[in-house]
Symmetry: C2
Subunit: 393 residues, 2 copies
């Protein structure tokens, strides 16, 4: 029943070494992580406290909670001000330059840590950790493959959950239940405190065109002004498309996969736009490899949308997202971003979601999303499942 | 089907005036909010951008997304650096002292806003906004009452969802589904980036004693090392208690309510400990009123736990939480906190969750949690539902 185990130490070592390489490039002696996602990345577990990773050797875990954690490199701690004395007690020299998660922890948390570690100088850990996390280790890739397999397995049940006369939100409740039954952990981790969503999104009919408050590809009005995203409570009508984009959080590492269903038959243009998205996925599979520029992928997506005659519907209508894909992992929005101004190139071990989507007002959204792994020589799809529009009766 | 509407403007005005009062006490001319929760509090909606509330008058909404928002006081904006020019354009004088959410936005977000509004001086908006949000307006109280009613309604179905031989997590999946069917929005907002949970917690048997990485009252091992909280996947055995503590997020304003079920009959001490918790709730109902010290409530809870002979089981065993309650609202952990070192007193309009709980290793957790509203003269329970241990067969 347990979905994810602890990563082996060799795998954690690969991560530490990556962080240490980038840390040294940034001129730092140590990196201090205190957000759940980075603590999990560096230790394979979640605790309240601080991970102290020096530029050489293994990290020290300063743990506030739970009080049950024990180990040679685990040190109970009450407050960050105790870090220097505890480090000295372990024979460590205090860092001259240390990294703090400046794009993740609050202003006051940062100031408190900065003061605690003075007279050393603080710099930003976030780009260093995000860069390390951008390419995945073997264990991380295995976790993503498990998520991808379970994600596809769960989607198989979707047609059996639909009933005529259903509201979009009722359909979503059933899909959530199936996702959980298949082992979804439910939690949806995002980078940045402004990205809120519950398990994923289902967009049917005209609701698909509602522009988003969030930085997701598409929007939807949602059920409440306090969470304006996804299903809006409208009854699903014949001739509408239903786009399903649930998070594949079956392990700590999330896959992203979107599929489209139709209630009855759709107008012809919906199939044409959907086919354009599938063609983009095929082009990605045929051409992407280490060294491919992320901006290039975005640019030819835009060109293909235009050639297909759906430029005005691509990635939204009244508000169009300026990306067609993004890295995935512990968070749903990791680097690289497939966008025009990206300077990243694909590297082996990256896992990216590609989501060229179209919004057709009054019909709904069409197009698919898959998660891919960049390999040594090319690219591999890890969310393998029927890609055509699937008919619901 | 839509659960929450927009608050009326008179209700928003009450909020602005509260914030403005505390803002002036803090010597500030303006408050800038950019977190979802505070944007929602000040405007009744969620958008990406900034709310600028001057110390007199109405706020201005600087909106990045969605591009569909329109209104006299809504100004589209691309980046925070544009705020001063846009303010001047509206005839506003730039603030000498302005407040930023220093305990909520990241270090780099804070620095960027601080620089954009220089030469004004920045100070902390978080305590000001949290203090304003601590007492609720009439519309907010109405939303909490709706959540409380629906919360109780959803819990009624729980016994019908249980089947012998079930794993704790399977029971939880069914309860989540019922919560959603009853209109739960799913999203669980917490203050502080370290508090993670999915919809709520179900603790059965010995898993209840697993200490938490998080600052919730109780823990549980969870299903994955990446989310160590709640149900652990074990089969529910006869003679175990099942504590159910799901978030009452049926509106933007969450109620907190815990109830206990038993599979078969429990050892006698479980009923005695549970009764001690009910007695504490009765004492709270009889004695609490505006002016009551939060620390006093915590202190007599501890004394009553000791008198009942369960001091070692109160709020955990190997790790004991140092609070017995907390404010609730847009976030599940708002001020005041019912703890020994609190200096807060109860005030009319506060909504607090009281959760004196006991962990009995091998049996599970017992005790209840209710959400209360502090009225002009006393206190009122807004999560009204059977409080004794309910038997599952």
């Amino acid at each position: 029943m347990k979905i994810s185990k602890y990563p082996p130490k060799e795998d954690l070592k690969l991560r530490w070494e990556k962080v240490q390489t980038f840390m040294k490039e940034a001129g730092a002696d140590a990196c201090i992580a205190s957000t759940n996602v980075n603590i999990y990345y560096l230790t394979g577990k979640i605790f309240a406290g601080y991970v102290y990773l020096p530029s050489e050797g293994e990290p020290i875990e300063f743990v506030q909670r739970p009080n049950s954690l024990e180990g040679e490199r685990i040190i109970p701690i009450r407050k960050p001000e105790d870090i220097p004395a505890l480090l000295s007690g372990k024979g460590y020299q205090l860092p001259s330059v240390f990294l703090l998660e400046a794009d993740q922890i609050t202003y006051n948390e940062y100031l408190r840590l900065e003061k605690a570690l003075a007279p050393g100088t603080a710099s930003n850990a976030t780009p260093v950790l995000r860069k390390a996390r951008m390419t995945k280790t073997p264990w991380e890739i295995e976790q993503l493959r498990i998520s991808g397999t379970r994600h596809a397995e769960a989607y198989k049940s979707i047609p059996s959950l639909f009933r005529s006369g259903m509201r979009d939100i009722e359909f979503q409740y059933e899909i959530e239940w199936v996702m959980r039954q298949n082992g979804s952990l439910g939690i949806f981790r995002t980078f940045g405190h402004q990205m809120e969503i519950f398990m994923g999104s289902l967009l049917a009919g005209k609701n698909a065109a509602t522009p988003s408050s969030y930085d997701f590809a598409l929007g939807g009005g949602g059920m409440s002004a306090c969470l304006p995203i996804g299903a809006s409570g409208d009854i699903i009508e014949k001739g509408q498309s239903i786009m399903i984009d649930m998070a594949g959080n079956f392990t700590a590492y999330m896959t992203d996969m979107t599929r489209v269903y139709s209630y009855g038959t759709l107008p012809d243009k919906a199939y044409r736009a959907h086919e354009a998205s599938i063609q983009m996925h095929n082009r990605l599979l045929e051409t992407a490899k280490p060294g491919t520029e992320c901006a290039e992928i975005y640019n030819w997506s835009l060109e293909m949308a235009e050639e297909a005659g759906f430029a005005a519907n691509f990635m939204g209508t009244v508000q169009q997202a300026k990306f067609t894909g993004h890295g995935v992992g512990l968070e749903i929005n990791e680097p690289p971003v497939l966008m025009g101004r990206s300077k990243d190139t694909l590297q082996p071990g990256m896992t990216i979601a590609f989501e060229p989507k179209f919004v057709l007002p009054d019909i709904g959204a069409v197009g698919i999303e898959n998660t891919f792994l960049i390999t040594e020589n090319g690219i591999e799809k890890i969310t393998v499942f029927e890609e055509n529009i699937m008919k619901l009766e």
